[in-house]
Every structure is written in structure tokens, then in C-alpha cells.
Subunit: 465 residues, 2 copies
């Protein structure tokens, strides 16, 4: 996607000197380093920052932001660079703060089922660390993203249908504001009615209101029993209707993922599997042994009513890992179907009663298009994704993908849905917020102006100032 | 509690004339009506508004706020008047907007498990309306509060340990801003990453940022099996430790309520029951028949390890209603123990690992005080309440309750807890936010200034401007 036109000032040499004094060789202006930090995993055009600062502490982030604030220089936070809507692109240049070296797990409160981590800790690192405690952190967007980045983009993923998104699973944040002040958004209590919900305000704000440096997350006991199953269906509507009925019946399924036939063909090839090439649901059930058996029976009965085939079970930890790794590799698998292609990933989310209709109409739209695509979805939430496999040499394919994306978002909005269930806004989806939020967008703009009057925090993202 | 000193301008006669023209006899300046609308169920000093406007629609609320904004006159929203920290007090006079006649249930989306209601709909009204759908709305703060008020104060209550608070159960809001503009904070999709989380910003803002006129709430299927039980313990520590272990074991208990011996004596007298006068837990289990049996077995084993007596079961709907009605009447029951007394209710919430310690220290503090009190708690959340039964003729009792309250809040804050788990801030707890939030309070103030530059929305609550 072409870049939005933002004015770009050359960076002030005296700022670079001050940052260098603060950070020594943890400040880099090397082209390769800057280029790496200006792009994410999306199709959106990268924009390199002028410098990258590798921070080690909240105090350092505060000092860096204070210096940038004095020079009115943009500041962009960077975790693992796995965003999908251009969130890390330095549209107006400036200083990228790389938080990946802030990777300390500060505290695990086993009794309270929570952990306090620095923003650069990744979800896999946390779960590895928790291994002996019997606890785990469930939010799983696929990529091994940093928890700071996941909080900043309000990530969710395959487990959200049971455990919620980052919105529900962040208890508190430490945030560096646009003038360098440091706040803590909440206490460690599970609930509070003590003032405005700053935690939820910063969750999903994509670095435009402040930089998240520490995250307190909820943890859960590893369930006594976990089992996963795969089930294919005659049509995508049958699969989706099974999901809808499962949710409406209140079955506390932990994961319920849809892959269309194209996506199944792709993962078969990529992950050397031999699933049937048909619309397929991947399930995972968590609970006591009896509870898991009961959930599975209910869901099997629903699937069978909708023409679903036999459940193929993955009960050992290895089988489950293989199954979910294949699901997580769906994006790369889709791209491998068209060698040399680049992916354009997009997502929408609708009320579940509209999900079958929204997916069917979208699939019809795609069927008549020359650009190949694959569909996967966290369908228990009403959320699904498309990836377009684009030939980068063919600008008309980009235009066509853009047109299909516009139509899909418009369709989701017309069904009381949202332009993005989990990828966020970045600069890729900014224009859709006008029709999605109407006047509410002006409230977002007022908040942005109040907290970042000079528009230095990740400018050009979420709200156009 | 004495009133904070806020400057009070006499209301502009021309504003009253304009409001009268808009609303006819739905504008009242009668003393009795104004007095009724300036007080809630708390001990805090009432402050009557100058006029009360009974609104029938979002458009009317918008028109009223616009007129008040032109005159820079305060606007206070009123639902059922059941707040507990002085939230409805018109500290600087102005116009109270009574939303109780906005009591239409606009839409129930059975398939999506949600409902859209006007702000004046009460929780009991909604559940009555849902009776034939197989769905229910779980949040239950005791009082039959309006859903607008419950959203505005981020209410929770007995079911929160399983179903979350209003924070988790509001999907979207319609809000009238300080200048009369109307926004919708979100779509009906279950999750979204499309911009700042305005829904969560307005939930808990107590009418200081805007007036909530419509609420979209999540609904749940009525569980196949529900059963409730009562169990008494030798000491309050034993009861609390049973709760902690239950939560840490991830048992999805729907309700887990603590009542101390004083509170049990009170409900025995008030509700003509004959429970043992000892620290007691009230449980409720929701799920499939097998799931409920499994949960109950786990919890019984935990309770028995901590000296808990036999579970006394309430399985029929009538028995359960009686049990929970007694719990909900706890406040009135406590006051009835000391005829002529007035209640001062307060609550705090701490990480569950500190709950036993926090309650024990608080009980020790209370034991040496001449003011009688009773303790109840939504202990699964780490949240508990005190009610002081105060002789209003004895000012030293008010001072003493204030001192005990200050000490309890300080204790909770020292344990990484919050000054209020669910009652909210109003003007009763405003001063505690300084130590609770530190610099973050200035962010709340910036947001307040940005959205309500003339400070007309419920002035003198949450943040001091």
C-alpha cells in the first residue's frame, strides 16, 4: 500500500548527540538497522526511522522520550516487528525505541495468577518461564510477539474465544507519556472502580498515546485435560453454522478455528500433512477430563448435524503442537502456494449471527477475482482473516487486493462489525475509522491531542491529526 | 461525610425557561423532587440540583446538555439513585437528568447473546424481559440499579468472579458529550482493535465525561444446572483461605461470598433465618449437571480442609432466591441491628494472596472501635465491603468511621490493592486517588479537560479540576 504523505524533517544532530551520550552504542543510525525497524510483516510500505535506540529500562525510555519531546521529534516503539498494518513505520522519521532488550520477567505471583514483565518479553518466553508453575498465559496471536506490542495492538488470536483478548488480560501497564513522565495505569487488584480505565485506554493505542514499558498480565492454571480435534465440512457455511451454534450453546471451547479449502491445501503442502482439502474447523477443549469429554460430545453432535465428518483427535502434547503449528504457519503456507508472492493480510470481525453471511459474500467476491487468497478465522469471536498472495511485480494486483479489502471492510461495517478484530489500525486501516466511528473519532482525536499535543508519539497512526 | 466546598452559581432563569419549553412538565424545580435527586444510598451529604429533567430519548439528553453547555451549567445524570459514594450529589447545583423513563429494551439479539437497552432499564427489568429467551444478564450489584448507572460506575457484584464486571460486559455505549454531540463508542462485534477503547473509558467515568444513554450488554445462556450452598467456618481466615484456594484452582464458581459473624447475626434477625452465627461462605455453581457436581466436590474438599462445616444446599429456584435475597439485604439487615442508625458503606479490593491478611487486620482494627460494623465480600475477586452502623446524633462516630475507612484504604493500597473495587469514587473517595494513582491522576485530569473543558459534567467527582 502506498505511503501516506507525512512531512518529514531531517533529525536534529544535537538530539542524536544527546541520545548517543545517553545510550552509547545502543543508539544506531546504521541504514540496515533503521530499515529493519521501519517495516513490519505487512504489505504496507516501510518507512525507516532516523535512528534506533535500544532501551534497557523504563527510566531510559523516559529519558529518550524527554529528549525527543524537547526537539519535537517523532518516537516509535518497536517490539518484534510482527504488526500487520504498518504500525512500526516511521512515517515522519524520528527515533525508534526498540524494547526487545527489555526482556526481564520481573515477578510471577503464582498465588494471584499474574505476572509483571518488561515490554520486550515475548509470549513464548513467558510461557517457557512459567513451565514449572502450572500456570500459562493464553493469548496467542500466532507470532511470538512481545507482550508490550501485544498490549499496544490489543492482540488476541486463537485462544480469545475462551480467555479473551489483551483487553481482558492486561491488569496494569507502566507507560512513558509524550513528555517523558512515567505512570502506572492500575494496581494489581483484579477489579477496581477507582477512576478512568487508563489500562484499557493504552491497550490498543499502538504507541500513539505513550510507550508501554511494563505489562502486568493475568495467568491461568494449565487445564487438567486438553484435547484438540479437526473436522471437515461439505461447505464453509456448514462449518460456520456449527461454530455459531457452539457459541450460542455456551460451550466453553478454548479454540475454534476455520480454514477454507485453499488454506487447507496450503498447509498440507507446507507442513507435509494430508488433511482433506475442504472447509475445516480446528477445535481445542480445556477443562477437567469429564468437562472436556462433555464439551467434545456437544460439539461433535452439532458438527454432525451440519454434515461435519469424523473428528480426528490430537490428544498428546506433540500431536497438538503439530496441529497448531500448522495453523500458525497458515500465512507462510499460503504464500508458499504462489512462489515469489507477498502477503497482504487483513481481518474483520462481525456479530456471530452475521458471520456465515459475511464469509459467504466475501468468498463470492474472491471467487471472481484473479488474485489468489486464503481465509482463516478465529470464528468463535466472529473474526476472520484473508491473506492475498500478491505478485509484487503486478501493481494491478495490489489495486485489486485493495478493492477487495475495501469491500470486505464495508461489508463488515454494514453488519455492525468492525474494520479490524485484532490486527489493529496502524496506517493501513486508518481511513476506515471514519465510517466505523463517525463522531467518536473526534473524541479519539481530542484524547490524542490532550496526551500528545505535539503529535510525536507514532504520528500518522490510528487518528489523523 | 461533610460536603466539599464547590462554588455554586444560582441557575440562570433563561436556561430554566428553555428547558421548560423543551420538556414541559418533565422539567421540575420542586424542592421534593430536587432533594430526592441530590442524594444516593450513601452516608455522604446530599446536594440538591436546581432542576430535574426527565428525559425520554438520546436526542432530548443531547438538547438538554447543549442548553446547559451554553450556560456553563452543571449536568448530573441520575438512574436509580443507588450509588454509594455521593455520585449523584449536585455539588455545584445545576440540572439533574433523570434517565429512569428511558426504560425501553431496544433490541435483544438472541443469536449474538447481546441486548441494546436505554440507560434507564434496570437489571431486573432486563432479566424479566429475557425470561423466555433462555438468556440472562449476570451482573448483580444487589440494588436493582439501572444499566446506565451500572455502566457509569463500573458496577460488579456477586457474579463478577465468573462473569466479570461491567467492564467486561458492556459491548458499546451511546454517550452524549459535554457539548451535546452524540457518539457511539463501538460496534456490536465481540472484539475490535479499531482505535482507542472509548467504551472502557466511559465505563466507570461516573458521568464526568459524558452521559450514557444506551448500553449494549453481553448476555449468557442460563446454565443447565445451578445450585447454591452455605458453609460456615471456625474463623474468618479459614473461610478466606478456602476462597483463595478455590480461585487458585481455577474452579469456575459463579458466586463466592463472605459474611462475617456480625453480618450473619444480622441477616438471621432481618430475614428470619437460623444460620449459625459464624464466618460463612455463600457459594453458587453454574454449568452442566456434571460440571456443577464436579465444582461442588472440589470446593467441598477445599472447605473441609479448612475446617468448614457441612454444605447446606439450596437447589430449588425458591431456596436459592431466598438465600441470595438474604445476602442482598445484608446492608439493611446490618442497619436494623442498631435501630435509628445510618449506614456508611465502603469497599476495597486487593490481590487475592493478600485478602486474608487484609481482612484480618481490618477486623482487628474494628474490634477495638466503638462503632459497630459488619463485613461482607465478593471475596473471589479479592473485594470486600464494610458497613458502619452509625448513630447520626454522634458526630464522633462519623469521625471514627472515617478514620477506620482511611486506615482500611491505606492498608489495601499498601497491598497493591485499590481504594474501591466496585462502589466507585464519587466525591467520597476522590482524595484516595492521589496516593492510588500518583502521576496517572494527571492523565485522568487531562482527559477530563479535553472532553469537558468547562467542567460541567458531574463536577467535583473522580478528579478535582
Amino acid at each position: 500500500m502506498p505511503a501516506p504523505a507525512l512531512h518529514r524533517e531531517p533529525i536534529d544532530k544535537s538530539l542524536l548527540a544527546q541520545l548517543h551520550q545517553l545510550l552509547g552504542d545502543r543508539l544506531s543510525t546504521a541504514t540496515a538497522v533503521c530499515d529493519h525497524h521501519g517495516k513490519d510483516e505487512s504489505y504496507h510500505a516501510p518507512h525507516s526511522p532516523d535512528a534506533v535506540a535500544f532501551a534497557h529500562s523504563t527510566e531510559e525510555v523516559s529519558a529518550i522520550v524527554k529528549l525527543c519531546s524537547d526537539h519535537k521529534t517523532p518516537v516509535i516503539a518497536f517490539g518484534t516487528g510482527t504488526s500487520l498494518e504498518g504500525q512500526v513505520a516511521a512515517l515522519a522519521g524520528g527515533v525508534c525505541i526498540d524494547l526487545s532488550q527489555m526482556n526481564q520477567i520481573l515477578r510471577v505471583n503464582v498465588e494471584d495468577l499474574d505476572a509483571v514483565v518488561q515490554a520486550g518479553v515475548t509470549r513464548k518466553q513467558l510461557n517457557e518461564y512459567l513451565r514449572d508453575t502450572g500456570l500459562f498465559f493464553p493469548i496467542d496471536p500466532g507470532a511470538d510477539a512481545s507482550l508490550g506490542g501485544m498490549a499496544a495492538t490489543r492482540a488476541s488470536g486463537t485462544n480469545a474465544v475462551r480467555y479473551g483478548t489483551m483487553r481482558e488480560n492486561v491488569l496494569a501497564l507502566t507507560v512513558v507519556l509524550a513528555d517523558g513522565r512515567v505512570i502506572r495505569t492500575a494496581r494489581r487488584a483484579r477489579k477496581s472502580a477507582a477512576g478512568y480505565d487508563l489500562t484499557r485506554l493504552f491497550v490498543g493505542s499502538e504507541g500513539t498515546l505513550g510507550i508501554i514499558t511494563e505489562v502486568t498480565v493475568r495467568l491461568y492454571g494449565i487445564p487438567d485435560a486438553i484435547s484438540a480435534a479437526v473436522c471437515d465440512f461439505p461447505t464453509i457455511e456448514d462449518a460456520v453454522n456449527s461454530v455459531i451454534l457452539t457459541i450460542q450453546n455456551g460451550v466453553p471451547v478454548a479454540r475454534i478455528e476455520l480454514l477454507d479449502a485453499a488454506q487447507m491445501a496450503a498447509i498440507n503442502n507446507y507442513s507435509k500433512l494430508n488433511h482433506k482439502v475442504a472447509p475445516t474447523l480446528f477445535f481445542e477443549f480445556h477443562g477437567s477430563p469429564a468437562g472436556v469429554a462433555e464439551q467434545a460430545e456437544t460439539v461433535k453432535a452439532i458438527a454432525s448435524e451440519h454434515g461435519g465428518n469424523e473428528f480426528r483427535w490430537a490428544t498428546t502434547s506433540e500431536e497438538r503442537s503439530k496441529l497448531w503449528q500448522a495453523r500458525h504457519d497458515a500465512y507462510y503456507a499460503a504464500l508458499a502456494q504462489r512462489p515469489g508472492s507477498k502477503g497482504w493480510a487483513t481481518d474483520v470481525c462481525v456479530p456471530i449471527s452475521r458471520l456465515a453471511e459475511c464469509i459467504s459474500e466475501t468468498k463470492r467476491d474472491l471467487a471472481s477475482s484473479p488474485v489468489p487468497s486464503a481465509l482463516v478465522g478465529h470464528v468463535g469471536d466472529g473474526n476472520f482473516h484473508l491473506v492475498f498472495m500478491i505478485d509484487p511485480q503486478q501493481p494491478e494486483e495490489i489495486a485489486e487486493a485493495g478493492r477487495l479489502n475495501d469491500r470486505m471492510v464495508a461489508r463488515a461495517l454494514a453488519m455492525e462489525g468492525t474494520s479490524t478484530g485484532e490486527h489493529g489500525v496502524g496506517y493501513g486501516k486508518m481511513d476506515f475509522l471514519v465510517s466505523e466511528h463517525g463522531e467518536a473519532l473526534s473524541v479519539m482525536r481530542s484524547i490524542k491531542s490532550a496526551l500528545d499535543p505535539d503529535n510525536i508519539m507514532n504520528p500518522g497512526k490510528i487518528v489523523r491529526m
